[in-house]
């Protein structure tokens, strides 16, 4: 099976250096790209059906096409790699940056050429020390070899690339929060519109793409949109880095065709549940996705299929709940995270999430009241998209509202019996 994203990565995870990268076809995508018009590359990426791998699934080619072009377009323009992997339960971009950093860099150079950017930034969470080291070395190698800097490979196109290591906050993963953070501000989200494609970093047109998204780009340009779509089992193009964590036998990350089913991930790749633990449910793509249960396991995982069951693929990294852990306590863990990481910019988010956390904490302490389940349900409606500046609070409500459906008996038991039976 073709595994373009991880095919080069060494078993010992020592980063692939420039020589090895070039020997295995690296920078061929860039060489091809520089020979064709930027607009053609955008069309190629559109035709590939590549969608954003950070979780939202927005079509990448379409996102690039919003960037103003032509002589009177605002300058400079920027490309930013979102490498702030902080969604709980998500550990995929790390694999690419540590194992094959040139793949991400080549994707950024092609993206920058496609939209006419002069500077590119990698926004990396500081806890990813090995990723930082691999990227710094790869940028230096690429600079030395003429893939970065002035007049890249004699094409007339120039690009500077910089690494920014964040000081840590979940909000930096939201693209306008990330842009504020790159500007040296608190990572509050910006009101939208205008979107970053028109008014982004320092007020200029900016593309923000996830690391995994960018790593796909050289392969699409090198081998074509038809080949790329053919990697997938469904309409969404390409492969996907899927992961599983929780009480499974072999937690890990695997590059598999888009459309691989949850059951294959859980049973074939993760080896099933650990002995003595039973499956109760899962979050399919990080903390901000809705629970799925046994009846959903044969669903293909891609952007559209999971939505038919009220969930979404998110980051594609599955978190498994077992029968030895309390579903209400899991919500408390998740909502504590969201309440803590809320930037405080809008009232429904900072006030609502703290309230939700307090109600869950009371339930876990045996102090839940009958009306508390209704209070949680009210929040799942009032913290929806459109009530807040960004997707943090709406994302927080996804696991909660689905927990109230799939694990309703557990919530009711906590309130009725005034205790948590897992304690």
């Amino acid at each position: 099976m073709d595994a373009p994203l991880t095919g080069r990565i060494r078993p010992d995870r020592v980063p692939v250096d420039l020589q090895e990268y070039e020997r295995t076809g690296g920078y061929q995508g860039l060489r091809k790209a520089l020979r064709i018009q930027p607009g053609e590359i955008i069309e190629m990426v559109k035709a590939s059906n590549l969608r954003g791998r950070g979780g939202a699934g927005f079509p990448t080619g379409q996102k690039w096409s919003f960037i103003p072009t032509g002589d009177d377009a605002p300058k400079p323009k920027y490309v930013v790699a979102n490498a702030d992997e902080m969604e709980p339960g998500t550990f995929k971009d790390r694999v690419l940056m540590e194992g094959d950093p040139h793949g991400v860099i080549e994707g950024m150079i092609i993206a920058s050429y496609a939209v006419g950017a002069e500077a590119a930034y990698i926004f990396l969470r500081r806890e990813y020390g090995p990723s930082a080291a691999a990227i710094k070395k790869a940028i230096a190698e690429a600079q030395e070899a003429g893939y970065l800097g002035n007049n890249i490979l004699g094409s007339g196109f120039s690009l500077d690339m910089h690494l920014h290591q964040s000081a840590g906050r979940y909000m930096c993963g939201e693209e306008t929060g990330l842009i504020n953070s790159l500007e040296g501000k608190r990572a509050n989200p910006r009101d939208k519109p205008p979107y970053p494609a028109l008014v982004g970093l320092w007020g200029k047109p900016t593309v923000v793409n996830n690391v995994e998204t960018l790593a796909n780009v050289p392969h699409i340009v090198d081998r074509g949109a038809d080949w790329y779509r053919g990697l997938s089992r469904t309409d969404d193009g390409g492969t996907k880095l899927f992961g599983v964590s929780g009480r499974v036998k072999k937690p890990g990350i695997w590059e598999l065709p888009m459309g691989t089913t949850l059951r294959e991930l859980l049973e074939e790749h993760a080896g099933g549940m650990q002995d003595g633990y039973k499956f109760r449910g899962l979050l399919p793509g990080g903390a901000s996705t809705e629970y799925l249960v046994e009846e959903h396991l044969d669903t293909p995982v891609d952007f559209d299929s999971l939505q038919q069951h009220g969930s979404r693929m998110g980051t594609g990294t599955v978190i498994v709940l077992d029968d030895k852990k309390c579903p209400v306590a899991m919500q408390l863990n998740l909502q504590h995270f969201f309440a803590q990481e809320s930037c405080g910019w809008c009232t429904p988010c900072w006030g609502g999430l703290q309230w939700v956390e307090q109600v869950l904490r009371a339930m876990e302490a045996g102090e839940g009241r009958p009306e508390d389940i209704g209070i949680l349900e009210m929040h799942t409606k009032r913290l929806r998209m459109g009530h807040t500046f960004c997707a943090l609070a709406p994302g927080a409500m996804e696991p909660l509202q689905s927990a109230l459906i799939h694990f309703r008996d557990d919530f009711e038991e906590h309130v009725r019996e005034k205790r948590c039976r897992w304690k």
């Binding site: 500081r126 920014h164 000081a167 906050r169 040296g184 608190r186 992961g243 937690p251 498994v320």
Partner: protein
Amino acid sequence: MLTAEERQEIDEAIAMSGRNRAACIDAMMAVQAHRGWLSDETVDELAEYLRLTPAELDSVATFYNLIFRQPVGRHVILVCDSVSCWLLDYEPLLDHLKSRLGVDVGGTTADGRFTLLTSVCLGACDRAPVMMLDGALYGNLTPEKIDAILAEHE
């Protein structure tokens, strides 16, 4: 007073964008790497160097989880308390650390050796439960492993 080395690191950060403001997070982290934490005096010095007000700089400093505005020990421990580590029972391990160190979360041992903090997901969920000590990641933790890691750090 900012040292020559600190000033050089800040200038390199400014050169990335040509903007003082954009460099302020890098500047604070660079100085923190030398001093362990940012005192009020350090924030004042940095603000003056970057031509921001101390209040502007402090509003940024207090937003980010890894910028310390209180003294920390020689080694900083970050225990992941997010969902995958919760599923793999990080809580008894955190209790073990608290009792071994004799401090609560947020505390520093009396000898100034360790500061104990929790962290959001460290992005190593296949190795849960995990913690970070001075930037190095330790996975598949057990009480015995934790004891061995502590013993390696004076």
